[in-house]
């Protein structure tokens, strides 16, 4: 029996559900179908061929792109975690007044609301050949020639990722830290625990769920990103998403679709592992 209250739930959830079905589930099905199609320079040809996948899975370029993607994802995760955890810890445990906490927290979130592209190009006057960093180092006599690896390099890409995505780590970790019962920390202090013991045995385990949620965000964002690699890599670096982007630009949709499906499977597999470790719904 469906109760009248439940009927309300159904129509209330309907707009969200329909939007997601129409603009998420169905488009993914279209990608899946098209990934088996054939194509020439002018058009898509409905068919059922495996060549798109065959080409993709046997190509060295794909393999290299995947290695590159995982490298970016891991390094970004590592740095965003270190920075994010420290910042969240400071905000949650060292800032005492709630008002100050809110202000500092908002201060950190504001840049999140600015376009990623702007935040990326704003590194150019700093890192470029004639940029601030190079001229400062040259004036102070540390280096003689400008450093070329600052911009359009793996370094620039990781730096931009950390700049863009650290807040995705700070927010969930801060959230779970705020829910830790302060009495636990007090009790540990009274029982004579050293600060690092408190960190290791109480705070890290109890903020695990926040760390996981942040990691999920950072991983998936980096895995699917093509624009950071395109802008900060200067067009010479490639990860999986830039391969897909390039195929889209060349109108090779079936090839792009096959690449997208493989990327989707990779991301979902990683998420399944992460979801095993934490129940996201309980954390909300």
């Amino acid at each position: 029996m469906i109760s009248p209250r439940q009927i309300h739930s159904y129509w209330q959830a309907l707009p969200l559900t329909l939007t997601l079905l129409g603009f998420l589930v169905f488009p993914i099905c279209v990608i899946l179908v098209v990934s088996f199609w054939d194509y020439n320079e002018y058009s898509l040809i409905p068919d059922f061929i495996l060549e798109n996948y065959e080409f993709l899975l046997t190509s060295k370029v794909t393999l290299k792109a995947y290695i590159q993607t995982f490298k970016y994802a891991f390094l970004t995760w590592f740095f965003t975690f270190l920075i994010g955890f420290t910042v969240a810890y400071f905000l949650a445990f060292h800032v005492r007044s709630q008002r100050m906490q809110t202000i500092l927290f908002l201060l950190c979130t504001v840049p999140f609301f600015t376009s990623n592209i702007i935040r990326m190009i704003s590194w150019i006057p700093l890192l470029g050949r004639n940029g601030l960093v190079n001229s400062a180092l040259q004036t102070s006599g540390v280096i003689e020639q400008p450093l070329d690896w600052l911009l359009y390099s793996d370094f620039a890409i990781i730096l931009a990722y950390v700049h863009l995505y650290t807040m995705f780590m700070v927010v969930p970790i801060f959230n779970s830290m705020m829910r830790i019962d302060r009495n636990l920390v007090e009790a540990a202090v009274d029982a004579g625990a050293a600060p690092w013991q408190i960190l290791k045995d109480i705070i890290v385990p109890l903020s695990k769920s926040g760390i996981m949620v942040g990691s999920i965000f950072v991983f998936t964002l980096v895995m699917g990103d093509f624009i950071t690699v395109k802008i900060m890599g200067g067009g010479i670096k490639a990860n999986v998403a830039t391969l897909i982007y390039n195929e889209i630009s060349l109108l090779q949709y079936p090839a792009a679709a096959a690449g997208a499906i493989i990327l989707l499977i990779t991301v979902l597999m990683m998420l399944m592992i992460l979801f095993r470790l934490v129940d996201v719904r309980k954390e909300l």
């Binding site: 209250r5 997601l20 998420l24 600015t114 190009i121 699917g224 889209i248 997208a260 719904r281």
Partner: protein, 269 residues
């Protein structure tokens, strides 16, 4: 007040450095957008002028900036309204368990973490295959919703987790209809959070690039315009555009904060 441990100062310094890291680059390009007419993309400043801002509004020089701004603004407003409405409704729905609720929940999470390029490609292909013309207000609008709705729903979850249902019960006990309870109890209590969701929806859509890539049709939104500029414009006009769009985002944030404060005040009165 007892004495702060040394670690406080270390972490405090770390936090300050983090803030500099977050804002430093943006401030740099904000300064550089006032570069004099003969100045280039980097320091030193060759004079101070508004030349590059003026350039933005000259059609032939950098493309169609003002129409792109208008389109992004209109799209942001549309997305905002739908995000607030849909998330509020779905948030209400999720207070009861219903058949399929976990499916819808996981679908929403998937929407949040799926690579944007997949959504963009999918919607673009779908419109193409069914013979619809992609447009910023149809396919672009849908693709933006797949990004803003999950944020809206998650905020709604957080709100209802801390929501005290006794107000509603009291209202029902006093004989109010469901609609009256919604209008006079629930809506005023939720207003600050809904404003927050609106802010999220607007700015996320206003700045969204990847999901717009294949879904905007022949007319650019502002982020697409910016991206096009990064590949072919090498003058501070790029920074001027960056500064203008950042200012719009900041205004929206400030406006929302003021509004939320007002709503909170009205509630306590």
């Amino acid at each position: 007040m007892d004495k702060r441990p040394a670690s406080f100062y270390f972490l405090g310094l770390f936090f300050v450095l983090f803030t500099v890291f977050l804002y430093g680059p943006n401030i740099t390009i904000a300064i550089l957008s006032f570069q004099g007419e003969s100045g280039g993309l980097t320091f030193p400043m060759r004079g101070v002028s508004l030349h590059w801002f003026g350039q933005l509004f000259e059609r032939q020089a950098v493309g169609d900036f003002s129409s792109a701004l208008l389109r992004s603004f209109a799209l942001g407003l549309m997305v905002m309204v739908c995000t607030v409405t849909f998330s509020l409704l779905a948030g209400l729905a999720f207070r009861k368990r219903f058949v399929g609720s976990s499916t819808v929940f996981y679908l929403t999470l998937t929407s949040l973490i799926l690579p944007s390029i997949l959504v963009s490609l999918g919607i673009g292909l779908m419109f193409d295959r069914f013979g619809f013309t992609p447009n910023w207000f149809s396919s672009g609008f849908g693709s933006h919703l797949t990004w803003t709705l999950p944020f809206g729903l998650l905020i709604m979850f957080a709100v209802f987790n801390r929501f005290n249902p006794s107000y509603e019960m009291a209202s029902a006990d006093l004989g109010a209809t469901t609609l009256q309870t919604f209008r006079f109890i629930l809506l005023p209590l939720l207003a600050p959070s809904l404003t927050g969701i609106g802010l999220f929806g607007f700015t996320l859509s206003y700045d969204e690039f990847a999901r717009t890539l294949m879904t905007s049709g022949s007319l650019n939104t502002l982020p697409l315009e910016l991206f096009a500029m990064t590949t072919n414009v090498t003058s501070p006009v790029l920074y001027a555009l960056g500064t203008v769009t950042t200012l719009v985002s900041l205004c929206v944030i400030l406006l929302t904060l003021v509004l939320v404060k007002q709503l909170r005040k009205a509630r306590t009165r």
